[in-house]
């Protein structure tokens, strides 16, 4: 009876564990190959770098720039997470689970330049757990906070305050004299929350 009981416990726990999400053990048991590593090209490693922190994931990584599509730069971490920024404004993430599939940044960029409407729209696309595209449209406004000294550099601090349904978030940007975003805190998705990104000088 003892053996049978132990057996039952095992079978039952196994079956339910599969449903419950005990991933590393299951992966070993099922012989699943972990995703192959994305190869970071050598030239990227010697190029510009960005430090990114994502509090909700406990993540802290240095990313290398791996691709440029017009004015969008894609940065990659060694653990296959990528972030894409249009002139410093986050427009996509990959590898975080609840990823930002894409977003528009033009209205934010116009607001940096002091142009455009006082209240503007930002559209963000996500993918549901059922593989459907879903959108969040945020209403945002830009506030010029003023100069702040960050790491010995005098930067302009701007705050973008947004609301998308029940999500309230404030993106923070620090711009240098040339108007380039050198540091930011930006909202990714309801589940991920904010990330902070800062360009590293080399």
């Amino acid at each position: 009876m003892g053996a049978v009981l132990a057996m039952k416990v095992f079978v039952c726990v196994m079956a339910l564990a599969l449903l419950a999400g005990c991933q590393p053990a299951i992966q070993r048991l099922m012989g699943v190959q972990p995703g192959t590593q994305v190869v970071v090209p050598a030239e990227a490693l010697s190029g510009p770098q960005m430090r990114v922190q994502i509090q909700s994931r406990g993540a802290n990584a240095v990313l290398s720039r791996v691709a440029v599509n017009r004015d969008v730069e894609t940065w990659l971490a060694v653990d296959n997470i990528s972030l894409s920024f249009r002139q410093g404004v986050l427009v996509a993430s990959r590898g975080l689970g609840f990823d930002l599939m894409a977003a528009d940044a033009q209205n934010t960029l116009d607001a940096f330049a002091g142009q455009g409407a006082e209240v503007y729209r930002r559209q963000m696309r996500y993918l549901t757990g059922d593989n459907q595209s879903t959108f969040l449209t945020a209403g945002c406004s830009m506030v010029f906070v003023g100069p702040e000294t960050v790491g010995g550099q005098s930067l302009q601090r701007l705050e973008e305050r947004c609301q998308a349904r029940q999500n309230l978030f404030t993106n923070l940007f620090w711009l240098d004299g040339s108007g380039q975003i050198v540091q930011s805190r930006q909202w990714v998705s309801p589940q991920i929350g904010y990330l902070t990104a800062s360009l590293r000088q080399r």
């Binding site: 048991l29 990528s82 689970g97 990823d99 059922d130």
Partner: protein, 708 residues
């Protein structure tokens, strides 16, 4: 006896405790949904139902126990209004009928349904109707109509009218008797075999009122009091002593998915219930932890003289290498000036659209600037299925566009691809093999309701030419008790399934499959298969299939003809004398909204003729929950227990659980009882499931994953 129950209970507790460790934090519950499940696993209070359902798509596993009675229920919220449950109950010291002799135990299976026909309004309550034992032996036979009203956001009251078992406490003459005196009496429906629809007894006999109040005191704690209209006449004075019709309960929501309930039942007993409820639409890891895809490279971002000639071997090698890093195998390649064509197999992603997206991204990095279009052909088992034609400039421009999937789809053509592209060097012959663990369970044997074998399986696959596949599977049992079964088959039909246990006794090394299969495209929208060999554990022979499945068509038609011989119990290469010509014509129909229907008509393994109807709900992440029933010219008496073949199908994609991309899915069929009538050959590689994931309907349903 009591000790055994305690042990069984303990096993289940351990299982649910194990679940709890991976549970996530609690989130606020949506309005208009039932607070929880009752002891029958139906949306409800303690023993009594309520009118509100659970969240659309939710799948609940409910284990409820009190003295001498354990119920295990699987409940699926099929739509916002309709839910269905399958229940397995172990009852000890119970009477078959009220006033009858006490049986030492009775194991009972039942199907139930609940339908909400009226939604709650400002003054109007929500109302639902339910049947607790649709096709069982009737021990839980009862029907009800129930109304639930939200009094404050945290307090709800329910009042209902029950019949059958739910009309026994304080019963009165059936109000439906105004439609005829026949409603006044209810004949006992407990039969030897069960499995018969007995609508003649539903809503018949005495009726009684039940009701209760639920108070969601905090986010996690709910208090419930109810008046039960079930007098437990079959159990009272035998399994336990019932002293009062009032029940009281407290629920604690441990996490989003897990709930524990403690109850004080019928003035004398303590009950406990554990609930694990998940929604296939809500995986833990959202749309998955897939690694970042290769970045798209604009043609103008690379100097003109560094591109490779697509006709060169080196180009094919580079493309093959880049694709294989993304879990995509390159089968063929051709280039004619402006169009670059590749034929690929998706070996990693649950949705083929993601494989197409990653392949397209790789092509932007490799194809010379004069290439304007990509034609990506998806193949399965060496046969080309679908051609996806993409405009390169659109891919380059839309990478970060907020509505990229819709815009890209406008310029993309998805069509049938009948012809293979010229193969790349080294593609054939191909040999693959693997060593994996396996679990082979057996449920609901009255002697031991849960048996299983665990072991390792060695699989190998050899493809000498496109479409020709030799494959084999050897299993070595390491531990298990499937061979403990001593319940000899009593079937009067050819024993095509009821002697399964003899195969388990036959030896610990088995050869479930050893086949040669050929897959081919006989015409546009047509797919063909011929399989020869040891097709499954119990049968070997020849299986042939033809499928008509156009792109974008809701309807598909198939025909399958098999000549099979029963395999020997012990000699893994031998046969028994029984042979049969079996086959079906099948119609598959996409009803819409994720619901799928299938009708198979033909001759079954025992030589019986009839039809199988399958209805399923499929989610675009690969989950599938379905039910089927087979009716053949075998009488209920000849069929034996259960009267006809029926069951539940459950498919769970591995990537939903782990968050890591994978094509592996767990599929299981839960049958209350496996008999010989209505049985089909279990051959691998059936065409409908092989090709449809690669066709336009499925690609469009998951098109957002192109950019993942």
């Amino acid at each position: 006896m009591t000790q055994r129950i305690a042990q069984l209970g303990l096993v289940k507790m351990a299982c649910l405790a194990a679940l709890a460790c991976w549970a996530a934090p609690v989130m606020a519950q949506e309005r208009g949904l039932s607070f929880g499940y009752n002891s029958y696993g139906i949306p409800g209070m303690i023993d009594m139902p309520t009118a509100l359902g659970r969240e659309d798509g939710e799948l609940g596993f409910i284990l409820s126990h009190f003295n001498n009675q354990t119920r295990q229920t699987l409940t699926f919220q099929i739509s916002k209004r309709l839910s269905a449950s399958f229940r397995y109950a172990q009852l000890y010291d119970v009477r078959a009928d009220p006033g009858g002799a006490i049986l030492p135990f009775r194991f009972d299976r039942s199907f139930s349904v609940q339908y909400r026909f009226m939604d709650e309004g400002r003054y109007r309550p929500a109302m639902a109707i339910g049947i607790n034992d649709l096709v069982g032996t009737g021990i839980y036979g009862g029907e009800y109509i129930v109304a639930t009203k939200t009094l404050t956001p945290k307090v709800r009251a329910s009042l209902g009218l029950g019949w059958g078992r739910l009309g026994t406490q304080g019963g009165f003459t059936n109000p439906l008797a105004i439609f005829g005196d026949r409603f006044k009496t209810r004949t006992s429906s407990i039969t030897g075999f069960g499995g018969t629809f007995d609508p003649g007894t539903w809503f018949h006999g005495d009726a009684a009122l039940f009701g209760g109040v639920e108070w969601q005191a905090t986010d996690r704690i709910r208090l419930t009091a109810e008046y039960s209209s079930d007098d437990y006449a079959r159990e009272d004075g035998a399994a336990f002593t019932r002293k009062s019709p009032f029940n009281f309960g407290v629920s604690y929501r441990y996490s989003d998915r897990s709930t524990i309930d403690a109850r004080y039942l019928y003035g004398s007993e303590l009950g406990i219930q554990l609930t694990y409820a998940l929604n296939p639409k809500k995986p833990r890891f959202g749309s998955g932890l897939d690694s970042a895809p290769p970045a798209i490279l604009r043609r103008d971002a690379r100097s003109a003289d560094t591109w490779l000639d697509p006709g060169s071997d080196r180009f094919a090698r580079e493309a093959g290498r880049a694709l294989s890093r993304e879990g995509i195998a390159l089968d063929g390649l051709s280039a004619d000036g402006k169009t670059l064509r590749i034929q690929i197999r998706n070996e990693r992603y649950g949705a083929a659209s993601q494989a197409v997206g990653r392949a397209a991204r790789i092509l932007t990095r490799l194809a010379p600037p004069n290439v304007e279009a990509f034609d990506i052909r998806l193949a399965a088992e060496g046969m080309p299925v679908t051609s996806v034609r993409l405009q390169r400039s659109e891919i380059e421009d839309l990478e970060f566009h907020p509505v990229a999937p819709d815009l890209l789809r406008v310029s993309t053509q998805i069509v049938d691809a009948r012809d293979s592209l010229p193969g790349v060097i080294g593609r054939y012959p191909a040999l693959t093999y693997g060593l994996d663990p396996y679990i082979s369970p057996s449920l609901f044997d009255p002697d031991d309701p849960l048996r299983a074998d665990i072991g390792v399986a060695l699989s190998a696959r050899y493809e000498p030419l496109p479409g020709l596949v030799f494959s084999g599977l050897v299993r070595q049992k390491l531990v298990g008790n499937l061979d403990n079964s001593t319940r000899a088959s009593t079937s009067v039909l050819p024993r095509v399934r009821s002697e399964a246990y003899l195969y388990a006794k036959g030896g610990s090394t088995t050869l479930p499959e050893l086949t040669a299969a050929y897959y081919f495209r006989p015409g546009d929208d047509l797919f063909g298969r011929v399989t020869v060999g040891y097709l499954e554990t119990m049968f070997g022979g020849v299986s042939t299939e033809l499928l008509w499945k156009p792109q974008n068509s809701r309807l598909a038609l198939g025909a399958e003809v098999n000549y099979v011989k029963q395999r020997d119990f012990e000699d893994m290469f031998g046969f028994r004398p029984y042979s049969v010509l079996t086959g079906h014509v099948s119609a598959y129909y996409d009803i819409g909204g994720g619901y799928q229907g299938q009708l198979d008509v033909g001759r079954y393994l025992a030589g019986d003729a009839g039809a199988t109807l399958t209805l399923a709900r499929e989610f675009d992440n690969g989950w599938r929950i379905g039910a089927f029933a087979t009716f053949t010219n075998v009488s209920a008496t000849d069929f034996g227990e259960g009267s006809f073949d029926k069951g539940i199908q459950l498919t769970i994609p591995l990537d939903w659980v782990t968050g890591r991309p994978s094509r592996t899915k767990f599929s299981t069929v839960i049958r209350p009882v496996l008999r010989d009538g209505g049985a089909r050959v279990d051959v691998s590689g059936r065409l409908y499931e092989t090709v449809r994931g690669l066709q336009a309907t499925e690609l469009d349903a998951t098109w957002g994953r192109f950019w993942r």
